[in-house]
């Protein structure tokens, strides 16, 4: 099991790279919102673009473009692919 070593926060993913969600370290409303959007463990995610100011960042999840602030994205752990 090398997941522990390669797991990184979603926020550190570079533009264009893809990954798979491992776990969500989020609580409350945001956790539900993220889950509702289909970002469950195992879901593939691709980092698409940064906003002009560098934050938030847009990710492609299940054919939908979703922008997250880096604070929130840093609580989502992923395996780069």
């Amino acid at each position: 099991m090398n997941t522990a070593i390669t797991t990184i926060p979603l926020s550190t993913l570079g533009i264009g790279s893809a990954c798979q969600i491992v776990s969500l370290n989020l609580q409350g409303l945001l956790r539900r919102r993220i889950l509702d959007l289909g970002m469950v463990p195992g879901t593939p995610v691709q980092c698409i673009r940064k906003s002009p100011a560098g934050d938030p960042v847009a990710y492609m999840v299940r054919d939908t473009l979703i922008a997250l602030r880096s604070e929130d994205a840093s609580q989502i752990y992923v395996n780069p692919m």
């Binding site: 959007l37 469950v40 463990p41 673009r49 934050d55 938030p56 922008a67 997250l68 602030r69 929130d72």
Partner: protein, 467 residues
Amino acid sequence: MSAVIKPMTTLEEICTEAEKIRLSNPDLGDKIVSDIYQNAEMIAGPAVIKNSTDSRSWDHKLDDILTSRRLGYPIMFALLSIIFWITIAGANVPSQMIADTLFAFQDQLLIWFELAGAPSWLTGILVLGMFRGLAWVIAVMLPPMAIFFPLFTLLEDLGYLPRVAFNLDNMFRRCRACGKQILTMCMGFGCNAAGVVSCRIIDSPRERLIAVLTNNFVPCNGRFPTLIAIATIFMGGMVVSELQTAVASVVVTSLVVLGIFVTFAVSWALSHTLLKGEASSMVLELPPYRKPQLGAIFYRSLIDRTIFVLKRAIIMAAPAGAITWLLANIYIGEISIIGHLAAWLQPFAYAIGLDGFILLTFILGLPANEIVMPILLMCYLSTGQMMEYGTLEELRDILINNNWTWLTAVCTMLFCLLHWPCTTALLSAYKETGSKKWTFLTFLIPTVIAFIVCFIVAQSARLLNLV
């Protein structure tokens, strides 16, 4: 068989039970969601045929331009300016037409009232007060809204608006507010009442309140004409006539920028005092760009927004028209009540660079900012009914004859930009927040800021002998 399951009867019971199950097993919710998605994938996998990636690559190309580092902001400002320009330029003619029609009907009403032998005070209150006030609000408010809202809804329908929030979120995050607040501000340019209602799109209650409380700092369609007229007369009047429009545009744009700056400052201050809290999360969907559906745009912008706002404004403007007429036509001694009130406000108004009539006009214009200039002219010309100005030259002569200086102009514009929201916006704030306290603060914060800013400007200008 002793265990009898007691049936649950109230919704509250069911919710408590559900909450209990949820808390006893923290992963349950996640499992349910994962399961739903797995099921959906299983069904969708073989059944749904995906289009080629063509449309998606179009989206990417558009996003590359519209959210790019270099072009993102300029395009945004250009689009907003174009919408303002079309609104201001396009509203003049229909406004005039509606005004002509309604005021012609007013003359007809006067004849009918006379034939019916109505006493002059009744004619005054109902026709010259209430009807004239209403006619004014409709004529000035309806055309710009009927132009602005469809254009704005068009941008919304195209899928561009979420990109604006995407571009600007960082600045709002620094004020611990939500990026979607910019959308409520854009809406506020059309009408602050609509802007306040649109704050519903913000998820976090704290950030939604910030957006409601600061919406008033973007000038609405009702205030733009006043700002433009004064800027053209006083700031434009300082340069040769060819440059007048350009200078006036720069002044109005600077005022808008100042308003946005105040929005950020107040949002920041609120996040650190009354509405203390960390920036909450923001999840923003950037939907694919799509062809606008014109029918839906017209329905949504005209029925949901324009008529909705107009209805609220009319409810407020009718009694205001009647009250204004009464104040202007009841004389105590030699002077009308308006004159007495203005005289009483004079020292206070002078301290903030205005005069008694201007301050009183803003107070009487509380129901709708559109009637501010008409009431002011009514006061200056003591005609007893709201007046229209023929040309800007006429307006300038009237204002200068009433001792306006450049300082009066600057302070009036600042006060107009920053002062309390109209009753329609306040009513919307009350409906949205459901709280008297927050509605009162929606009124109080801009009022205090307007007084402070105008006081500082007026006093410094006088201290430095600039006037």
